[in-house]
Subunit: 170 residues, 2 copies
């Protein structure tokens, strides 16, 4: 599958089959995040890869819309330095997340980001140090409905290009 | 080219051929950004697509390492709401930037992000409204050295997976 088709067809998946992901698939997903570019190659991330269902369930309770983590075969918590200190930090986390999710999609694995609105609760669950923050975790797993992985763009899904693109100035 | 190869081989490109990009290539790049997912599908971005060399030159002077914008065939300024208000904003901008850059790479087009450290100067150049911010602009163009677009991963480029991945907890 080429890149442009992946970008065009990939859909967020929030409901997963219970089956685990093969170790090589998990490795491929994490490696895609590791390979992502970052400001001055700072690689400002640690990834906590979570397959323990108890941990996933507890983490799913750290954000109002994070419930999909409970059913994921794999959760990836993206830890960063203080995200308010540099605008590049969350930008780079987003680039790494996009790479992980596209790489997963190519392997038939669905995914969705979850905002962690209770970072201190998450810190207690995952036991990461005070100098790191957790804003976003990703759910991964084989989609409960395999048709949900890909879909042709639908009307109303994204605004038209002409509404968001300006030429040479605003 | 499949997604995993694109992620593995893609390198940042900062020096470009002077030739312009075809309109359909620019459209494909912008569409990849438009198609990117965002928190609650908020699509929190406007893109200023810049091909005017005078504008690119002026924008390249808005950040210490933004010089590569001056030689780009296309610059894309990613405008967002106040990035300090929600951690999702720059995360989503990063996802859109990753999609644009991967889509460009597949078309033989190199790219690199530039941090805009002088946003008010950039605002005067691009004339965007006060409720929008500019933190990152992307350079695009055919690479001056076509070998710079792709390269096998080199030792020292990224830290090992085992240094950044933790299993189930820190």
């Amino acid at each position: 599958m080429n890149v442009s088709d992946a970008i065009r067809l990939k859909r967020a998946v929030r409901e997963f089959k219970p089956e685990p992901l093969p170790a090589e698939t998990i490795d491929a997903i994490l490696n895609a995040g590791r390979r992502s570019q970052s400001s001055k190659n700072s690689q400002p991330w640690h990834f906590i890869a979570i397959t323990d269902k108890t941990v996933l369930k507890r983490l799913s309770e750290c954000g109002e819309w994070a419930g999909h983590l409970a059913g994921a075969a794999l959760g990836v918590a993206i830890l960063t330095p203080d995200p308010t200190a540099k605008f590049q930090t969350m930008f780079d986390a987003g680039q790494a997340a996009a790479f992980m999710q596209l790489a997963a999609w190519e392997l038939g694995v669905g995914s969705c980001p979850a905002s962690i609105y209770e970072p201190e609760k998450a810190r207690q669950i995952l036991e990461f140090p005070a100098e790191l923050w957790l804003c976003i975790a990703l759910s991964f797993g084989y989609p409960a409905d395999s048709r949900s992985l890909s879909r042709l763009p639908q009307k109303g899904g994204r605004v038209d290009l002409k509404e968001i693109v300006h030429w040479n100035h605003w």
